[in-house]
Subunit: 202 residues, 2 copies
Amino acid sequence: MIKTEPRLQELMTRLRVLPGVGLRTAQRMALHLLTASHRNDAHELAQALQSALDSIGNCRLCRMLTEDDVCTWCRSEERAEPAQICVVENYGDALAIEQTNYQGRYFVLQGCLSPLEGITPKDLGIDLFIQRVQEGGFKEVILATNLTVEGETTAHYLREQLAGMQLKISRIAQGVPMGGELGYMDGPTLGLALLDRRDCSH
Amino acid sequence: MIKTEPRLQELMTRLRVLPGVGLRTAQRMALHLLTASHRNDAHELAQALQSALDSIGNCRLCRMLTEDDVCTWCRSEERAEPAQICVVENYGDALAIEQTNYQGRYFVLQGCLSPLEGITPKDLGIDLFIQRVQEGGFKEVILATNLTVEGETTAHYLREQLAGMQLKISRIAQGVPMGGELGYMDGPTLGLALLDRRDCSH
């Protein structure tokens, strides 16, 4: 039966774009969504996804998700440390850091340097980042890429790009275990890692 | 930031309709789908879901998912046991049974009786099922609802509804599963397995 319903097959395939969803889970999800009692919810999910894709873009300044031209984090006048900018790999990492009372700005790379996957500085908007740092009047750049090999490589590359500019460059402390991903750290650990950031400008 | 993007909030909420997806996973999925490199896939997912909802309905005869009026399982002339009909709670159960070379027809209840959740015989299309059995010329009804309290209750109810009709009614066997170790089986299961022991003397 299932094999003869192309659109059901298609849905199962597409569901696998979701993180951590394999063949088995995708099938379970598809059958769940098409059950009579869940169809309204499923319809609203499709609408919500389409509407989010249509209306949510990236902040012109920090590449964070926003429905506007510039995100509220970049616009906000209330943030106590507007001269700090924290570079993270993805949205989730920024959200995790925001939980730690960090009061500066952000820049979201949307990934990290990876020659294997062909991810270049251009893909990470690093030129945009450098420009942002130059024009934003920042005094400190906090490198908060993951403590993975790619994250460290990216941080190292950013440090090189920022060399010679009149600002403090810091890296989150090694309070975060090697291989750990910021999105999954608990607040206290992450807060401590920010607190213990070490100066690496010289 | 996130809190100020209503459509992102909406997407996170809607993603929770997926089975086994909680707040944390929903957020992770939403951010993943909106990342630049995944937007095409996300768009295709939204399309696939909408298209499936629009085109896939229930088989008029067995309530299985199909794009047609009657599903291929009900239409098929090749099935060796067209006089058997197997009643299951949901699509996934039918798919699981189909893996076992079962050659009869199916009927999908899309749930099981649950006074607490207000699920009535009407919701399960049991009237449709009785009609199907009467008109389908079946010789055996196999009750394959889950071995849970609700499943057993539903099976019991179906048995009552079928009483007096000229056909064999059977229930899938309960016992120790393949590879099961007796030492780890619960008492009731083991007791029933002993009670339902089958003669293998010849």
